[in-house]
Protein backbone atom coordinates (compact mmCIF):
# COMPACT_ATOMS: atom_id res chain seq x y z
CA UNK A 1 0.00 0.00 0.00
CA UNK A 2 1.29 3.46 -0.92
CA UNK A 3 2.55 5.65 1.88
CA UNK A 4 -0.06 8.33 2.78
CA UNK A 5 0.70 11.83 1.59
CA UNK A 6 2.31 14.14 4.11
CA UNK A 7 2.33 17.87 4.66
CA UNK A 8 5.28 20.11 5.41
CA UNK A 9 5.17 23.57 6.95
CA UNK A 10 7.51 26.50 6.52
CA UNK A 11 8.91 27.39 9.93
CA UNK A 12 9.15 31.07 8.98
CA UNK A 13 5.64 31.83 7.73
CA UNK A 14 3.46 28.74 8.13
CA UNK A 15 3.01 28.09 4.41
CA UNK A 16 2.18 24.41 3.93
CA UNK A 17 3.25 22.07 1.17
CA UNK A 18 0.82 19.19 0.75
CA UNK A 19 2.25 16.25 -1.22
CA UNK A 20 -1.23 15.43 -2.51
CA UNK A 21 -1.61 18.88 -4.04
CA UNK A 22 1.98 19.61 -5.07
CA UNK A 23 2.65 23.21 -6.13
CA UNK A 24 1.51 23.42 -9.77
CA UNK A 25 2.32 27.17 -9.99
CA UNK A 26 5.99 26.21 -9.65
CA UNK A 27 5.65 23.17 -11.89
CA UNK A 28 5.45 20.67 -9.03
CA UNK A 29 2.70 18.22 -9.92
CA UNK A 30 0.09 16.92 -7.44
CA UNK A 31 1.38 13.77 -5.78
CA UNK A 32 5.01 14.93 -5.72
CA UNK A 33 6.70 13.58 -2.60
CA UNK A 34 8.65 16.00 -0.47
CA UNK A 35 11.94 14.26 -1.25
CA UNK A 36 11.23 14.78 -4.95
CA UNK A 37 10.62 18.51 -4.62
CA UNK A 38 13.73 20.18 -6.09
CA UNK A 39 16.24 21.32 -3.48
CA UNK A 40 16.24 24.84 -4.91
CA UNK A 41 12.48 25.24 -4.52
CA UNK A 42 11.66 27.89 -1.97
CA UNK A 43 8.66 28.92 0.06
CA UNK A 44 6.27 30.78 -2.22
CA UNK A 45 5.16 33.03 0.63
CA UNK A 46 8.38 34.05 2.37
CA UNK A 47 11.23 32.65 0.32
CA UNK A 48 12.59 30.28 2.98
CA UNK A 49 14.42 27.28 1.62
CA UNK A 50 13.24 23.69 1.40
CA UNK A 51 15.38 22.81 4.41
CA UNK A 52 13.37 25.27 6.51
CA UNK A 53 10.18 23.22 6.22
CA UNK A 54 9.20 20.72 8.88
CA UNK A 55 6.79 17.82 8.69
CA UNK A 56 3.33 18.60 10.04
CA UNK A 57 2.23 16.21 12.74
CA UNK A 58 -1.07 14.55 11.80
CA UNK A 59 -3.60 13.93 14.53
Amino acid sequence: MAEPFKRYRCTYCGQEYDEAEGWPEDGIAPGTRWEDVPDDWYCPTCGAEKADFEMVEIG
Binding site: T11, Y12, C13, G14, T45, C46, G47, A48
Partner: protein, 423 residues
Protein backbone atom coordinates in the same frame (compact mmCIF):
# COMPACT_ATOMS: atom_id res chain seq x y z
CA UNK B 1 -15.58 39.75 28.05
CA UNK B 2 -14.37 43.31 28.57
CA UNK B 3 -10.79 44.13 29.51
CA UNK B 4 -10.69 46.45 32.57
CA UNK B 5 -10.15 50.09 31.64
CA UNK B 6 -6.75 50.41 33.31
CA UNK B 7 -5.34 47.45 31.36
CA UNK B 8 -6.98 48.59 28.12
CA UNK B 9 -5.44 52.02 28.58
CA UNK B 10 -1.98 50.62 29.31
CA UNK B 11 -1.75 48.46 26.18
CA UNK B 12 -2.34 51.45 23.91
CA UNK B 13 -0.28 53.94 25.91
CA UNK B 14 2.86 55.05 24.05
CA UNK B 15 4.52 56.03 27.31
CA UNK B 16 3.83 52.61 28.80
CA UNK B 17 5.65 51.04 25.83
CA UNK B 18 8.52 53.46 26.42
CA UNK B 19 8.64 52.29 30.03
CA UNK B 20 8.45 48.61 29.01
CA UNK B 21 7.40 46.74 32.14
CA UNK B 22 3.87 48.17 32.50
CA UNK B 23 2.91 46.81 29.09
CA UNK B 24 4.42 43.39 29.77
CA UNK B 25 2.62 43.23 33.12
CA UNK B 26 -0.71 44.23 31.56
CA UNK B 27 -0.41 41.59 28.86
CA UNK B 28 0.63 38.95 31.39
CA UNK B 29 -2.69 39.51 33.16
CA UNK B 30 -4.63 39.66 29.92
CA UNK B 31 -3.13 36.37 28.66
CA UNK B 32 -3.90 34.64 31.94
CA UNK B 33 -7.38 35.96 32.59
CA UNK B 34 -8.92 37.27 29.34
CA UNK B 35 -6.71 36.21 26.40
CA UNK B 36 -9.23 37.14 23.73
CA UNK B 37 -11.40 39.95 25.01
CA UNK B 38 -12.57 43.43 24.09
CA UNK B 39 -10.71 46.60 25.00
CA UNK B 40 -12.23 50.04 24.74
CA UNK B 41 -9.58 52.62 25.59
CA UNK B 42 -10.68 56.20 25.78
CA UNK B 43 -11.25 57.73 22.37
CA UNK B 44 -10.85 54.50 20.43
CA UNK B 45 -13.27 52.21 18.70
CA UNK B 46 -13.53 48.97 20.73
CA UNK B 47 -11.35 46.12 19.52
CA UNK B 48 -10.56 42.52 20.35
CA UNK B 49 -7.15 42.02 21.93
CA UNK B 50 -5.59 38.87 20.48
CA UNK B 51 -2.89 38.21 23.06
CA UNK B 52 -1.97 34.56 22.56
CA UNK B 53 0.62 33.30 20.09
CA UNK B 54 -1.68 30.52 18.83
CA UNK B 55 -4.61 32.89 18.24
CA UNK B 56 -2.47 35.30 16.24
CA UNK B 57 -1.41 32.39 14.04
CA UNK B 58 -5.05 31.40 13.61
CA UNK B 59 -5.99 34.90 12.51
CA UNK B 60 -2.99 35.42 10.24
CA UNK B 61 -3.53 32.09 8.53
CA UNK B 62 -6.92 33.34 7.27
CA UNK B 63 -6.20 36.57 5.39
CA UNK B 64 -9.50 36.39 3.49
CA UNK B 65 -11.48 36.38 6.72
CA UNK B 66 -9.33 38.86 8.61
CA UNK B 67 -8.51 41.86 6.47
CA UNK B 68 -5.69 44.33 6.96
CA UNK B 69 -7.04 47.31 5.11
CA UNK B 70 -10.77 47.66 5.75
CA UNK B 71 -10.04 49.72 8.86
CA UNK B 72 -6.90 51.31 10.23
CA UNK B 73 -4.04 48.81 10.20
CA UNK B 74 -2.69 50.19 13.46
CA UNK B 75 -4.21 51.68 16.60
CA UNK B 76 -5.72 55.07 16.01
CA UNK B 77 -8.10 57.45 17.72
CA UNK B 78 -11.72 57.59 16.57
CA UNK B 79 -11.39 61.28 15.84
CA UNK B 80 -8.53 60.58 13.41
CA UNK B 81 -10.50 58.32 11.10
CA UNK B 82 -12.59 60.96 9.30
CA UNK B 83 -9.49 63.12 8.87
CA UNK B 84 -7.49 60.27 7.35
CA UNK B 85 -10.37 59.37 5.04
CA UNK B 86 -10.62 63.01 4.00
CA UNK B 87 -6.90 63.25 3.21
CA UNK B 88 -6.80 59.92 1.32
CA UNK B 89 -10.07 60.25 -0.53
CA UNK B 90 -11.86 57.62 1.55
CA UNK B 91 -9.17 55.15 2.65
CA UNK B 92 -8.68 54.26 6.32
CA UNK B 93 -4.85 54.35 6.14
CA UNK B 94 -2.69 57.33 5.30
CA UNK B 95 -0.23 55.07 3.46
CA UNK B 96 -1.48 52.44 1.00
CA UNK B 97 1.29 49.92 1.55
CA UNK B 98 1.64 46.14 1.66
CA UNK B 99 0.65 46.01 5.34
CA UNK B 100 -2.71 47.61 4.51
CA UNK B 101 -3.59 45.65 1.39
CA UNK B 102 -5.64 42.52 0.92
CA UNK B 103 -6.48 39.90 -1.66
CA UNK B 104 -5.15 40.02 -5.20
CA UNK B 105 -3.76 43.54 -4.91
CA UNK B 106 -1.61 42.44 -1.97
CA UNK B 107 -0.48 39.34 -3.85
CA UNK B 108 0.38 41.28 -7.01
CA UNK B 109 2.32 43.97 -5.20
CA UNK B 110 4.16 41.62 -2.87
CA UNK B 111 5.32 39.66 -5.92
CA UNK B 112 7.15 42.74 -7.25
CA UNK B 113 9.87 42.68 -4.59
CA UNK B 114 9.60 39.11 -3.28
CA UNK B 115 12.15 37.51 -5.65
CA UNK B 116 14.79 40.03 -4.49
CA UNK B 117 14.52 39.20 -0.80
CA UNK B 118 14.58 35.42 -0.70
CA UNK B 119 17.57 33.91 1.11
CA UNK B 120 18.82 32.70 -2.24
CA UNK B 121 18.75 36.19 -3.76
CA UNK B 122 20.21 37.75 -0.63
CA UNK B 123 23.29 35.54 -0.68
CA UNK B 124 24.56 37.72 -3.51
CA UNK B 125 24.47 40.73 -1.19
CA UNK B 126 26.40 39.20 1.71
CA UNK B 127 29.76 40.70 0.72
CA UNK B 128 28.34 44.17 0.16
CA UNK B 129 26.54 44.12 3.50
CA UNK B 130 29.67 42.90 5.26
CA UNK B 131 31.58 45.87 3.85
CA UNK B 132 28.94 48.21 5.25
CA UNK B 133 29.10 46.45 8.62
CA UNK B 134 32.89 46.80 8.72
CA UNK B 135 32.57 50.54 8.10
CA UNK B 136 30.21 51.06 11.03
CA UNK B 137 32.19 48.76 13.30
CA UNK B 138 35.36 50.74 12.54
CA UNK B 139 33.57 54.01 13.32
CA UNK B 140 32.26 52.62 16.59
CA UNK B 141 35.68 51.35 17.66
CA UNK B 142 37.12 54.82 17.08
CA UNK B 143 34.66 56.16 19.64
CA UNK B 144 35.97 53.81 22.34
CA UNK B 145 35.50 53.62 25.26
CA UNK B 146 31.90 54.91 24.99
CA UNK B 147 29.16 55.46 22.45
CA UNK B 148 25.41 55.63 22.11
CA UNK B 149 25.00 52.36 20.29
CA UNK B 150 21.49 53.28 19.13
CA UNK B 151 22.30 56.58 17.43
CA UNK B 152 25.91 55.80 16.46
CA UNK B 153 25.43 52.31 15.01
CA UNK B 154 21.98 50.74 15.26
CA UNK B 155 20.07 53.52 13.47
CA UNK B 156 22.67 54.01 10.76
CA UNK B 157 23.84 50.56 9.68
CA UNK B 158 20.44 49.09 8.69
CA UNK B 159 19.65 52.39 7.01
CA UNK B 160 22.77 52.12 4.82
CA UNK B 161 21.93 48.49 4.03
CA UNK B 162 18.35 49.13 3.01
CA UNK B 163 19.20 52.26 1.04
CA UNK B 164 21.81 50.26 -0.88
CA UNK B 165 19.27 47.53 -1.61
CA UNK B 166 16.66 50.09 -2.66
CA UNK B 167 18.98 52.27 -4.71
CA UNK B 168 18.86 55.46 -2.63
CA UNK B 169 22.07 57.55 -2.79
CA UNK B 170 24.11 57.72 0.41
CA UNK B 171 23.79 61.50 0.65
CA UNK B 172 20.02 61.13 1.05
CA UNK B 173 20.28 58.88 4.12
CA UNK B 174 19.88 61.64 6.76
CA UNK B 175 16.73 62.82 4.99
CA UNK B 176 15.30 59.29 4.91
CA UNK B 177 16.16 58.66 8.55
CA UNK B 178 14.48 61.88 9.63
CA UNK B 179 11.31 61.17 7.68
CA UNK B 180 11.14 57.58 8.93
CA UNK B 181 11.44 58.68 12.52
CA UNK B 182 8.76 61.30 11.96
CA UNK B 183 6.47 58.73 10.42
CA UNK B 184 6.77 56.19 13.24
CA UNK B 185 7.30 58.51 16.21
CA UNK B 186 4.57 61.10 15.95
CA UNK B 187 3.97 60.85 19.72
CA UNK B 188 7.61 61.38 20.66
CA UNK B 189 8.58 65.05 20.99
CA UNK B 190 12.25 64.20 20.38
CA UNK B 191 11.58 62.57 17.01
CA UNK B 192 8.28 63.80 15.57
CA UNK B 193 7.83 66.31 12.76
CA UNK B 194 7.44 69.37 14.95
CA UNK B 195 9.95 68.27 17.63
CA UNK B 196 7.48 69.11 20.42
CA UNK B 197 4.48 67.72 22.32
CA UNK B 198 1.55 67.65 19.88
CA UNK B 199 -2.14 66.80 20.12
CA UNK B 200 -3.56 64.08 17.82
CA UNK B 201 -4.71 66.53 15.14
CA UNK B 202 -1.29 68.21 15.09
CA UNK B 203 0.37 64.78 14.95
CA UNK B 204 -1.74 63.85 11.94
CA UNK B 205 -0.90 67.12 10.25
CA UNK B 206 2.80 66.44 10.90
CA UNK B 207 2.41 63.01 9.32
CA UNK B 208 0.69 64.54 6.32
CA UNK B 209 3.60 66.97 5.80
CA UNK B 210 6.09 64.13 6.16
CA UNK B 211 4.15 62.17 3.55
CA UNK B 212 4.25 65.12 1.18
CA UNK B 213 8.03 65.31 1.48
CA UNK B 214 8.33 61.59 0.87
CA UNK B 215 6.02 61.73 -2.13
CA UNK B 216 7.97 64.59 -3.69
CA UNK B 217 11.23 62.72 -3.18
CA UNK B 218 9.95 59.43 -4.56
CA UNK B 219 8.21 61.13 -7.48
CA UNK B 220 11.60 62.22 -8.79
CA UNK B 221 12.98 58.75 -8.11
CA UNK B 222 10.23 57.11 -10.17
CA UNK B 223 11.14 59.21 -13.19
CA UNK B 224 14.82 58.43 -12.73
CA UNK B 225 14.31 54.66 -12.55
CA UNK B 226 11.85 54.58 -15.44
CA UNK B 227 14.42 56.35 -17.59
CA UNK B 228 17.28 54.12 -16.42
CA UNK B 229 16.06 50.86 -14.83
CA UNK B 230 18.40 48.92 -12.50
CA UNK B 231 17.96 45.73 -10.49
CA UNK B 232 17.58 47.73 -7.26
CA UNK B 233 14.30 47.42 -5.39
CA UNK B 234 13.04 50.96 -6.00
CA UNK B 235 13.61 50.46 -9.71
CA UNK B 236 11.57 47.26 -9.58
CA UNK B 237 8.77 49.20 -7.88
CA UNK B 238 8.98 52.13 -10.31
CA UNK B 239 8.84 49.81 -13.32
CA UNK B 240 6.41 47.18 -12.01
CA UNK B 241 3.27 46.60 -14.02
CA UNK B 242 0.13 44.79 -12.94
CA UNK B 243 -2.19 43.84 -15.79
CA UNK B 244 -0.08 45.95 -18.10
CA UNK B 245 -0.31 49.14 -16.02
CA UNK B 246 2.23 50.85 -13.79
CA UNK B 247 1.27 50.95 -10.09
CA UNK B 248 -0.96 53.92 -9.33
CA UNK B 249 0.35 56.86 -7.31
CA UNK B 250 -0.96 55.58 -3.95
CA UNK B 251 0.45 52.10 -4.57
CA UNK B 252 3.82 53.43 -5.70
CA UNK B 253 4.24 55.83 -2.79
CA UNK B 254 3.03 53.26 -0.30
CA UNK B 255 5.52 50.74 -1.59
CA UNK B 256 8.48 53.11 -1.50
CA UNK B 257 7.55 54.30 1.96
CA UNK B 258 7.10 50.85 3.49
CA UNK B 259 10.30 49.54 1.91
CA UNK B 260 12.35 52.54 3.01
CA UNK B 261 10.94 52.94 6.49
CA UNK B 262 9.98 49.48 7.72
CA UNK B 263 13.08 48.24 5.95
CA UNK B 264 15.41 49.74 8.49
CA UNK B 265 13.55 51.08 11.53
CA UNK B 266 12.57 47.62 12.75
CA UNK B 267 16.09 46.27 12.33
CA UNK B 268 17.53 49.36 14.00
CA UNK B 269 15.28 48.87 17.00
CA UNK B 270 16.16 45.22 17.27
CA UNK B 271 19.88 45.85 16.92
CA UNK B 272 19.79 48.55 19.60
CA UNK B 273 17.72 46.32 21.89
CA UNK B 274 20.09 43.41 21.39
CA UNK B 275 23.05 45.50 22.51
CA UNK B 276 21.09 46.73 25.53
CA UNK B 277 20.33 43.13 26.50
CA UNK B 278 23.94 42.12 26.00
CA UNK B 279 25.34 45.02 28.02
CA UNK B 280 23.23 43.89 30.97
CA UNK B 281 24.19 40.22 30.63
CA UNK B 282 27.98 39.68 30.61
CA UNK B 283 27.44 35.89 30.79
CA UNK B 284 25.59 36.04 27.48
CA UNK B 285 28.43 37.90 25.82
CA UNK B 286 30.86 35.29 27.17
CA UNK B 287 28.69 32.53 25.68
CA UNK B 288 28.66 34.25 22.30
CA UNK B 289 32.40 34.78 22.31
CA UNK B 290 33.00 31.16 23.29
CA UNK B 291 30.65 29.88 20.61
CA UNK B 292 30.24 32.29 17.67
CA UNK B 293 27.89 29.74 16.10
CA UNK B 294 25.23 30.94 18.51
CA UNK B 295 24.93 34.25 16.69
CA UNK B 296 21.80 33.17 14.81
CA UNK B 297 20.13 32.18 18.07
CA UNK B 298 21.15 35.54 19.50
CA UNK B 299 19.58 37.35 16.54
CA UNK B 300 16.36 35.36 16.83
CA UNK B 301 16.08 36.00 20.55
CA UNK B 302 16.75 39.71 19.97
CA UNK B 303 13.79 39.81 17.62
CA UNK B 304 11.59 38.00 20.16
CA UNK B 305 12.77 40.29 22.92
CA UNK B 306 12.49 43.68 21.21
CA UNK B 307 9.36 43.00 19.12
CA UNK B 308 9.93 46.12 16.99
CA UNK B 309 6.38 46.04 15.60
CA UNK B 310 4.15 46.02 18.66
CA UNK B 311 0.89 45.25 16.89
CA UNK B 312 -1.08 45.23 13.71
CA UNK B 313 -4.84 45.49 13.45
CA UNK B 314 -7.21 43.30 11.46
CA UNK B 315 -10.95 43.41 10.89
CA UNK B 316 -13.27 40.49 10.33
CA UNK B 317 -14.96 40.29 6.94
CA UNK B 318 -17.60 37.84 8.19
CA UNK B 319 -18.98 36.35 11.38
CA UNK B 320 -16.45 33.79 12.57
CA UNK B 321 -14.78 32.23 15.61
CA UNK B 322 -11.28 32.24 17.08
CA UNK B 323 -10.59 29.70 19.83
CA UNK B 324 -14.33 29.34 20.36
CA UNK B 325 -14.86 33.08 20.73
CA UNK B 326 -17.45 34.51 18.35
CA UNK B 327 -16.19 37.45 16.31
CA UNK B 328 -18.66 39.51 14.29
CA UNK B 329 -18.20 40.85 10.76
CA UNK B 330 -16.63 44.29 10.99
CA UNK B 331 -14.99 43.70 14.40
CA UNK B 332 -11.59 45.34 14.79
CA UNK B 333 -8.79 43.20 16.28
CA UNK B 334 -5.39 44.00 17.76
CA UNK B 335 -2.76 41.34 17.10
CA UNK B 336 -0.28 41.98 19.90
CA UNK B 337 3.11 40.61 18.92
CA UNK B 338 4.45 42.10 22.13
CA UNK B 339 2.17 39.76 24.05
CA UNK B 340 2.55 36.72 21.79
CA UNK B 341 6.33 36.84 22.11
CA UNK B 342 5.97 36.57 25.88
CA UNK B 343 3.31 33.84 25.75
CA UNK B 344 4.01 31.37 28.56
CA UNK B 345 2.33 28.60 26.53
CA UNK B 346 5.07 28.83 23.90
CA UNK B 347 8.18 30.15 25.67
CA UNK B 348 9.80 28.86 28.84
CA UNK B 349 10.84 31.78 31.04
CA UNK B 350 9.45 34.30 28.53
CA UNK B 351 10.81 37.25 30.49
CA UNK B 352 14.35 35.89 30.35
CA UNK B 353 16.68 36.61 27.47
CA UNK B 354 17.94 33.19 26.41
CA UNK B 355 19.88 32.03 23.38
CA UNK B 356 19.11 28.36 23.91
CA UNK B 357 15.55 28.39 22.56
CA UNK B 358 15.45 25.68 19.91
CA UNK B 359 13.37 26.32 18.01
CA UNK B 360 12.62 29.94 18.84
CA UNK B 361 8.99 30.38 17.77
CA UNK B 362 9.06 34.17 17.98
CA UNK B 363 6.32 35.73 15.88
CA UNK B 364 7.54 39.32 15.54
CA UNK B 365 7.57 39.09 11.74
CA UNK B 366 3.94 37.99 11.69
CA UNK B 367 2.74 34.81 10.02
CA UNK B 368 1.09 33.70 6.81
CA UNK B 369 0.46 35.81 3.72
CA UNK B 370 1.51 39.05 5.40
CA UNK B 371 4.69 37.74 7.01
CA UNK B 372 7.43 40.39 6.85
CA UNK B 373 8.82 40.58 3.33
CA UNK B 374 12.25 41.63 4.60
CA UNK B 375 12.64 39.10 7.40
CA UNK B 376 15.53 37.22 5.81
CA UNK B 377 17.39 40.45 5.03
CA UNK B 378 16.86 41.62 8.61
CA UNK B 379 18.31 38.41 10.06
CA UNK B 380 21.23 38.43 7.67
CA UNK B 381 22.26 42.01 8.30
CA UNK B 382 22.08 41.59 12.07
CA UNK B 383 24.11 38.38 11.94
CA UNK B 384 26.78 40.06 9.83
CA UNK B 385 27.03 43.08 12.13
CA UNK B 386 27.57 40.89 15.21
CA UNK B 387 30.05 38.67 13.35
CA UNK B 388 32.07 41.76 12.50
CA UNK B 389 31.77 43.47 15.87
CA UNK B 390 32.11 40.82 18.57
CA UNK B 391 35.67 39.69 17.79
CA UNK B 392 36.85 43.26 18.56
CA UNK B 393 35.16 43.59 21.93
CA UNK B 394 36.43 42.41 25.26
CA UNK B 395 33.62 43.74 27.44
CA UNK B 396 30.44 45.77 27.20
CA UNK B 397 28.42 47.50 29.91
CA UNK B 398 25.79 50.19 30.09
CA UNK B 399 27.18 53.70 30.51
CA UNK B 400 23.85 55.28 31.38
CA UNK B 401 20.15 54.53 31.25
CA UNK B 402 18.82 53.43 27.86
CA UNK B 403 15.60 55.02 26.61
CA UNK B 404 12.85 53.73 24.38
CA UNK B 405 10.88 55.76 21.84
CA UNK B 406 7.45 56.94 22.99
CA UNK B 407 5.26 54.94 20.63
CA UNK B 408 2.83 52.03 20.66
CA UNK B 409 3.50 50.86 17.12
CA UNK B 410 6.95 50.53 15.49
CA UNK B 411 9.48 51.35 18.16
CA UNK B 412 12.33 50.30 20.39
CA UNK B 413 15.33 51.83 22.12
CA UNK B 414 16.35 55.29 20.93
CA UNK B 415 19.38 55.65 23.23
CA UNK B 416 21.65 52.83 24.40
CA UNK B 417 24.74 54.37 26.03
CA UNK B 418 27.48 51.76 26.40
CA UNK B 419 31.05 51.56 27.63
CA UNK B 420 33.24 48.94 25.95
CA UNK B 421 36.80 47.69 25.99
CA UNK B 422 38.68 46.32 23.03
CA UNK B 423 40.63 43.14 22.59
Amino acid sequence: MQIPANLAQTIVDSRAYAAGDPVDEAFRTIRAEMPLAVAEPEGMEPFWVVSRHADIMTVEKQPDIFHNGDKSTFLTLKEMEPMVRFITGGEPNLVRSLVSLDGQEHKDLRAVVFPSVTPKALRGLEDDIRKIAKTFVAEMLEKAPECDFATDVAFLYPLRVIMTVLGVPQEDEPFMLKLTQELFSSADPELNRDRKEVNPAEALDGLRRTMEDLEAYFGVMTEKFRANPTDQVNSLIANAKVNGEYLNRRQLMGYYIIAATAGHDTTSNTTAGAMWALAERPHLFEQLKADPGKVNAFVEESIRWVVPVKHFMRSATQDTEVSGQKIKAGDWMMLSYQSANRDEAVFDDPFDYRIDREPNRQIAFGYGAHVCLGQHLARMEMRILWEELFPHLKSIELAGTPQRTISNFVCGPKHVPIRFTLN
